[in-house]
């Protein structure tokens, strides 16, 4: 079932003010660039108004927005990667260079671990909500979180050993 009517200006304003900041941050964790993350969010919003998916409730709407942002961001990363031999080069004015290690550290985690950790620790989603977004069971999400944290800890210790 799809929404048949077009979105009113009020509905669009509500969606934009409710989701833009968190989706830009989420897309940023993949793109490492704010303008690219903004492009991804625009793409997601355009998909929303053209596909007009039907949402049972607010949680469903939120889950759709997050999932499409993740997929669009993954596509972006794949597209850049498949045409470049070098890793993504980034220049993030919002972050001082001495903090880049954090981005690089988190980047070493696989996509799924990074995403669940981000959604849980930063955006404050419950395991159940993350399971809905990622279309996985709650136990899988719990396992990914545990593994992600363990891997991150290992990387951190490794880095501290090198310093």
């Amino acid at each position: 079932m799809r929404k048949t009517k077009e979105y009113s200006d009020q509905e669009l304003s509500r969606i934009i003010s409710e989701y833009t900041h968190s989706l830009v941050r989420l897309a940023f964790t993949y793109t490492k660039s704010v303008p690219d993350a903004e492009d991804i969010v625009q793409e997601v919003m355009v998909r929303l108004i053209t596909k007009k998916p039907y949402f049972e409730n607010k949680t469903h709407e939120k889950a759709w927005m997050v999932r499409v942002t993740i997929n669009t961001s993954i596509n972006y990363v794949k597209a850049v990667k498949r045409h470049k031999n070098e890793p993504l080069d980034y220049d993030i004015p919002e972050i001082p260079k001495e903090e880049y290690y954090l981005v690089e550290l988190i980047d070493q985690l696989s996509e799924k671990y990074r995403t669940v950790l981000y959604l849980y620790y930063f955006e404050g989603y419950a395991i159940k909500e993350i399971a809905q977004i990622m279309k996985k069971s709650e136990s899988t999400i719990t396992t990914w979180m545990a593994r992600g944290r363990k891997k991150l800890k290992g990387l951190l210790l490794e880095r501290e050993g090198e310093l």
Binding site: E6, Y7, D9, L12, S13, I16, S17, T20, H21, V24, R25, T31, S33, V34, P35, D36, A37, E38, D39, I40, V41, Q42, E43, V44, M45, V46, R47, I49, T50, V68, N71, T72, I74, N75, Y76, K78, A79, V80, K81, R82, H83, K84, N85, L88, D89, Y90, D91, E94, I95, E99, L102, V103, L105, I106, Y121, F122, R149, L152, K153, L156
Partner: protein
């Protein structure tokens, strides 16, 4: 650990869209609803389409262009980015690789009614190259390879990431590609002469959703094709008229194509440089596709893929061309008068 989480959280809290973004987005969406047209992204990639001139070869193959469309948003750290992949329908282009060929000849189903035909593969010193055909995309909008996982019963396992995929033909629903997946020689060598399980991961895109399609095959690679560097160079050529300097950095010969990496310096930040290739007998070679980035001052880099030059030639002559976009959005190319780059093939 908690400190890292806290630092990461604090760092991300500084990531915010531009102040005007929400308002601009609202206007863009309102317009998109009225015009029922997909709006442009802020820093969208430039996609240049160049119709390739028919190569002056004996083969009079009809020429056509296949473009791999960019469906994803732009790389903002690059002030410009363009790519295009194209090739003629040329049977003669499909080089014979009998010496190192691993025949596969297997058709597999993907998604809903999709079909991929795997022709053959070649283990190379830089990974693995696979020739495949997307016979039918099924319910997907786009299908392309992502990675290859190879493993033996002895416990050796390597994941090779896709480097590129180049179309060989533009026949509808019957498109053949060369897919290249990278790894270092040492990691590939151990698979030679061993029964190898191979999982080819393709990605199917449908309305923004991405689905993994895994294809499992087994083969025994008996030899390895050595990817050769046929020339490398550090010298710049300066063209006074255009006020541009350029150099061909590296030329490598892969199983089915030749990869040419180059750099340029110019004041024209919105234009992209590429090259045409011919040999000492004035035969022109097909450009199979290219990518280029303008990302930082004095660091403009590009890669162009050509068909392999004939074995009996000694020289490769690269003529620079500008790829430009005019104000009305049309795409054009302009040949640059003056000095090209002539390179002698090494062994």
């Amino acid at each position: 650990m908690n400190r890292i989480e806290e630092e990461y959280r604090e760092m991300l809290s500084r990531i915010k869209p531009e102040e005007s973004f929400e308002q601009e987005l609202l206007e863009t969406l309102k317009q998109a609803q009225i015009q029922k047209k997909k709006p442009k992204t802020k820093v969208g990639r430039k996609l240049f389409i160049r119709h390739i001139h028919q190569a002056a070869t004996a083969m009079a193959a009809c020429m056509c262009v296949v473009i791999i469309g960019i469906k994803t948003p732009a790389a903002a750290t690059f002030r410009g980015f363009y790519e295009r992949f194209c090739i003629s329908v040329s049977q003669t282009y499909e080089k014979n690789v009998k010496a190192d060929e691993i025949p596969i000849n297997k058709q597999v189903n993907i998604g809903n009614k999709g079909k991929i035909y795997l022709n053959d593969a070649v283990m190379t010193s830089e990974g693995i190259s696979i020739r495949y055909e997307v016979k039918d995309k099924g319910n997907y909008d786009d299908v392309y390879p992502s990675e290859v996982i190879i493993a033996t019963e002895d416990g050796d396992r390597e994941v090779l990431e896709q480097e590129n995929y180049i179309p060989v033909s533009d026949q509808k629903n019957n498109t053949k590609y060369y897919g290249t997946f990278q790894k270092h020689t040492a990691e590939i060598q151990k698979f030679i002469g061993k029964e190898t399980s191979c999982t080819l991961v393709f990605l199917g895109e449908k309305g923004g959703e991405v689905q993994e399609e895994k294809i499992k095959i087994k083969f025994m690679p008996r030899s390895m094709y050595k990817v050769k560097t046929v020339a490398s160079n550090d010298d710049w050529v300066y063209n006074k008229k255009e006020n541009i300097s350029y150099r061909i950095k590296n030329i490598t010969l892969n199983v089915w194509y030749m990869k040419v990496e180059y750099e340029w310096k110019s004041q024209e930040d919105q234009d992209f440089l590429s090259f045409e290739l011919s040999d000492e007998y004035k035969k022109q070679y097909l450009s199979l596709g290219e990518t280029a980035d303008i990302n930082k001052e004095n660091r403009k880099i590009g890669t162009v893929f050509f068909e392999r030059t004939d074995d009996d030639t000694r020289k490769m002559i690269f003529k620079p061309v500008w790829l430009k976009e005019s104000k009305n959005g049309t795409q054009m190319e302009k040949k640059i008068d003056g000095q090209g780059i002539t390179t002698t093939k090494g062994e």
